[in-house]
Every structure is written in C-alpha cells, then in structure tokens.
C-alpha cells in the first residue's frame, strides 16, 4: 500500500475503543478522500484481533495492529516507542489523536521524538493551501483550535514537516455511517518492547461507569448559578425528568456542589450538540458556549436581559427560574 496516508491513533481502554477515535476515523476518511489517499489506524493493546477487524467497517483501509502484554494498558514510554517506529515506517502525512488524557500524554512525546509539530485540542480540521517564504504548500492540514481560555480561535499549520499532527477534542467530529464488509486489511506487528521502557506501573485504575450520557442526549436541560441553591438545582433536574432529557450544568454549578462533574458542559466538560438545549440561569461564558453553541435549538432562561447567553439563543425567556421552571413543567404536563 502507498504511504503518505491519514493515520488515526485508535485509543482503547480495556479493549473498548474510545468514542473520539471512531469520530476521528470518520473525519480521517473525509480528509483522505479529498487528498486521494488511504486511511490507516494505529491500534495498540493486547488481544485486540476481533476489535481490529471491526474497525474496518469505518472505511479504514489498513489497521496496523500492535499487540503486546506491555501495551494492554497505556503507559507513555512503550506507546511512544511503538508509535514512533510505526510512523517512521508508514510515513503518514497526517496523524490524529483524541484529545483525551491518553492522547494528550502520548501525542506530545511522539511530536518531540520526531521533531514535528503538534496542534492541541482541535475543534475543526480542513485542507487548504499555505504560503510561506515564497513557497505555496498545497493541500496541507488547517488545524483549528480555541486558545487563550476560549477567547480566540487559531488556525495552525505545520507545512514544512511531516507528519502534521493534531489532538482533537471529543464530540466535535460527526459520525458517518459504517460500511460493513469494507475492504481493508489488518496488518499485525509484534513490537519488541525493551524492559528499560517498563518504568511505570499502574497500581490502581478507577473509571466510573458513565451514568451520564450528555453526548448522546437529544434534549439537555442545563442549570447554572442562577439556580441559587441545591434545592433550586433540583427543580431543574425535575424539568429534565419531565422532558426525558439529560441534565447539564455550568462549571460554577458543579463547583457549588449542586451536581456531579460528569454533567458539566463546556470547554473543560463535555461538548454537546443536542436537538434542544435549555440553559437555566447560565450566563453564557465563553467556556460554557464552547461546549453547547452547536446545539440545534437553544432556549435561554435568565433574569438578566443582558446575559450573553441570549446572543446565541433561539428563544429567550427573561424571568426568574423559580417561576419559569414550574410553569414549564406544568405546561408540558398539560399538553402531553
């Protein structure tokens, strides 16, 4: 197979492929099609043969499967070495990583070892041209990311070095339909990992079951400081229950202890794009909007007509939550 492809680091935790990796395979297909190249996956772990085959349905042309007991759980040094060797052999033009704690631990080490660029926490990727010192670089990767605490959006390029690499935020790339029976291949490697790399040991690992499914929710009712108290927030939860919606929250509401961090929407929480987002007593800070501005419809309920949330909302209700929420629940129960 030709080189110069688009490669995705496919993250697995205990054999389960991370959502963001699937999102990236879908995006990689789109990028590869416009560049007329193939999609490759780098899949590291142990006992992954079946999972590797399953990746092909995301229109992956080549899964590079690297299996070893030392790769079963992520640790930085073995993963870095295996990835660096693979990238040197396959010479992809683009490598994408999920901006997870794993991706943001691993990506920078690989970039540092290969002396190539890495753009952090991208929210969009495009292909375009770039002029630099009188040369036009054709079809390079525009890596688009928020920085400065979300106050700016920067487009970053790294035209002179290959591969161009980026970590990409979960939830921003759209999933596309699978194609069962897609003709790709799984190429297996048996990486040799020196004992000198086995310097980290995971003594304990605790991952709470995801009880909150913000990303998959069609409707989210989110509460902020305007709730005023835990009791006030519970009213918002009631509205969510009535509408069969998931509960979201601003960071301030999480910090106040009214709701678990798993519910946080925004730059340091989850990025969501539901059919309907009801923001209750949320001012609409830049960091909160970063996680919900793409919602199809936004209803903002706020007592302050100047609250920035109204500038991105489709429906605005100026009022006190104490009155509006019960009225909302009542109206829904009467209609339904």
């Amino acid at each position: 197979m030709n080189k110069n492809n688009v490669m995705v680091f496919v993250q697995q935790d205990d054999g389960v492929v991370a959502d963001v990796s699937i999102e990236l395979l879908c995006k990689a297909r789109e990028l590869a099609d416009s560049l007329h190249v193939s999609v490759e996956a780098a899949f590291l772990g142990d006992k992954l043969a079946a999972a590797a085959k399953a990746l092909l349905a995301y229109k992956v042309d080549r899964v590079n499967l690297m299996q070893s007991e030392h790769l079963a759980h992520y640790t930085p040094l073995p993963y870095t070495q295996v990835m660096v060797d693979l990238i040197k052999e396959r010479e992809p033009q683009i490598v994408l990583y999920g901006a997870t704690t794993t991706g943001r631990d691993l990506g920078p080490r690989i970039a540092s070892a290969l002396k190539v660029g890495l753009t952090a926490d991208c929210t969009d990727l495009q292909i375009g041209d770039h002029e630099l010192g009188g040369t036009t670089y054709k079809n390079i990767l525009y890596q688009i990311r928020p920085a400065f605490g979300g106050n700016i959006i920067a487009t970053i390029v790294s035209p002179e070095k290959k591969p161009q690499m980026a970590t990409v935020r979960e939830g921003v790339m759209k999933l596309t339909a699978q194609e069962p029976g897609y003709k790709g291949e799984v190429i297996e490697y048996k990486p040799g990992i020196g004992v000198d790399l086995l310097v980290s040991q995971i003594l304990e690992s605790v991952r709470e079951e995801k009880t909150v499914n913000l990303k998959g929710a069609q409707i989210i009712v989110a509460g902020g400081m305007g709730a005023g108290s835990k009791e006030g927030f519970d009213q918002i939860v009631k509205l969510a229950q009535a509408l069969n919606a998931e509960v979201g929250a601003s960071r301030a509401a999480v910090d106040a202890g009214w709701v678990n961090k798993a519910h946080q929407v925004g730059q340091t929480g989850t990025t969501v794009r539901p059919k309907l987002y009801i923001a209750c007593g949320i001012s609409g800070s830049i960091q909160h909007r970063a996680g919900m501005a793409e919602s199809s419809r936004i209803i903002a309920i706020n007592s302050d007509p100047q609250a920035p949330i109204f500038q991105i909302a489709h429906y605005g209700i100026i009022g006190d939550l104490k009155d509006v929420i019960p009225a909302f629940i009542k109206a829904y129960k009467n209609k339904a």
Partner: protein, 293 residues
C-alpha cells in the same frame, strides 16, 4: 535524603481579563495589553515541590522560566514561597517558540542544572492551552512522565520510586514510577501556600543578573549573599548550550496562520413572555415540531 527538583513555571496573560487587543496583527500575543500572572497550575506544581522539601529537608527546589525579562516576576514569587534557586531563560532567539522549541530550550536548561530527580510542571498554561510542554520536555530528557497529577501518594527517596494519582476521564489511576520522572500537576490538589512575609522582605528587591558561567554552583547564590540583588540567574541561549536552529521561530514546526477573536453570533432570537400562557405557547410549538416528545 534530599532530592534535586526542577519546577517549570510560566508567566501568562490573565485570559479571564482579555481585552480586544489580546493578539497583535502578526498573530503573536500582545502581552503589554494584558495583566500578567503566575500560571495557576504552576503554583500547584511549585507547592508540590515545596511539600517534598518540607518532608525531605535536603531537597533543593530550582525554578525555571523561559520568557521576556518581565517574566522574572514569577521567579520572585517563587522565591517568596520557598524556592532555593531561580533562573530566567531569556534571549531574543527564543521568541516565537511553539511547544517543541519551548520544550527544547527548557530541556537544555534542566540539563544545565545537572542530575535532577524530579521535574514538576503545570498541566497546562492558560494562554497557549496546549498541555504539551511537559510531555515534550520529558521526551527530550529521556525521562518518564506522569501527567494530570492531583496527589503524590508516596515518595521513597531511598528506593527512588514515586506513586502519584493521575486524573483520567471519569476517574483516576494510581501510577508508580521510578525516579527520575516528570510530573504535570493539576489544580485539584496541592493548594498553594501564600508567600512568606520573611521571604518577601528578603527577596523583594531581587533582580535578574546575567551569570553565564558554565558552573551551576557559581550561578546559585545563597540567600544571605543575595538579600538585595543578583538572586535571579539569567541564562541566554549560549549559557544553556542550545542550538539556535532548534529555538524560537526557527525551531517551531507549527505556525499560526490566522487568529479569530470569538465574537458572539447574534442571531434572530424570539423572546417568549415569562407568563404561564407565554411558556405554554412555547411548549406547544416545541411539541408540534417534534423537538420535544
């Protein structure tokens, strides 16, 4: 048994108070227009180092920053809190560095300090927001790393092992590693101590002075000798033996192509009356178009 620790700290514009002129037209940060602060998570990294020093008294806490001369302020604040040695890496040739070039320069400076047991950084700086400098520096030093650390469960200076709690999505990992290792620290633990009044008196007039001697001991000055000045070592590109081609703009593969300020996209908003009838009408409409079930 004491440890030799390096803490990497960065002076950052306070991104919570950004004005319209945050960026210059050439895409570089307009530092002059923004209040400069100690990167919040770096204060937690410094605190982690100082707590290790409290528990292991022979420990030496070295603090390094790369930046313009004004960045010496974060070194002063480190001295106020208990740092033993501080160095400002500053040179025009470092300007425009991306994370790769930044980590290269920092790794050269750490090498100059000598045999180091532990490197501590913040997880992420609030301006560049990349969280890449820590891992990239570790790779350049051939050092292991534990990122997103909120607590150190155990540090055995004799056996040279450390166990740290690392935040991951929806939970945590307890990771045991051999020294030397680089940790990136979050703001979840290690609540920073305030400056010590005694140390503020001692170091408030500290200024940076060039001491490009090759030897670390000559750069280091003890507190009594330096109560008024010269306490901040000033290192340029030559004194950390860095290759100019790998520094600054020249050593940076990533380039900023374009910067857009985030502006609120004002759109057609329909105001709904907060009365019961107004809300009932809205609910009716949402049910009618199948937005809610």
């Amino acid at each position: 048994m004491g440890l030799n620790i390096v803490v990497l700290v960065k002076q950052v514009p306070d991104t919570k108070n950004v004005t319209g002129k945050a960026m210059k037209d050439d895409g570089t940060v307009n530092r002059a227009a923004l209040p400069a602060i100690f990167n919040p998570e770096d204060l937690h990294a410094l605190e982690a180092a100082l707590r290790i020093k409290d528990a292991h008294p022979d420990t030496r806490v070295n603090v390094i920053t790369m930046g313009p001369p004004a960045a010496a302020q974060v070194l002063k604040e480190s001295l106020f809190r208990g740092a033993d040695f501080v160095a400002l890496i500053t040179d025009r040739k470092f300007a425009g560095a991306d994370t790769l070039a930044t980590s290269y320069a920092l790794s050269c400076a750490i090498r100059k300090i000598g045999a180091v047991d532990l490197v501590l950084c913040g997880r992420q700086a609030i301006d560049g927001d990349t969280a890449q400098v820590g891992p990239q520096t570790a790779e350049k030093l051939g050092m292991n790393q534990i990122t997103c650390v909120s607590d150190i469960a155990e540090l055995d200076a004799k056996k040279r092992t450390i166990s740290a709690r690392r935040s991951i999505e929806g939970g945590f990992e307890l990771v045991k590693a051999k020294l030397p290792v680089l940790l990136t620290v979050t703001d979840e633990g290690f609540e920073p101590r305030p400056p010590s009044a005694r140390r503020v008196m001692m170091y408030k007039n500290a200024v940076a002075s060039a001491s490009n001697d090759a030897s670390y001991d000559e750069c280091y000055m003890n507190a009594s000798a330096c109560a008024d000045d010269d306490i901040i070592a000033l290192w340029d590109i030559a004194s950390i033996k860095a290759d100019p081609e790998a520094c600054g703009l020249a050593g940076s593969p990533t380039k900023v192509k374009k910067i857009d300020s985030v502006v609120l996209t004002a759109q057609d908003i329909r105001m709904v009356d907060a009365s019961e009838s107004g809300i009932a009408a809205l609910v009716h409409e949402l049910i009618a178009d199948h937005t809610i079930g």
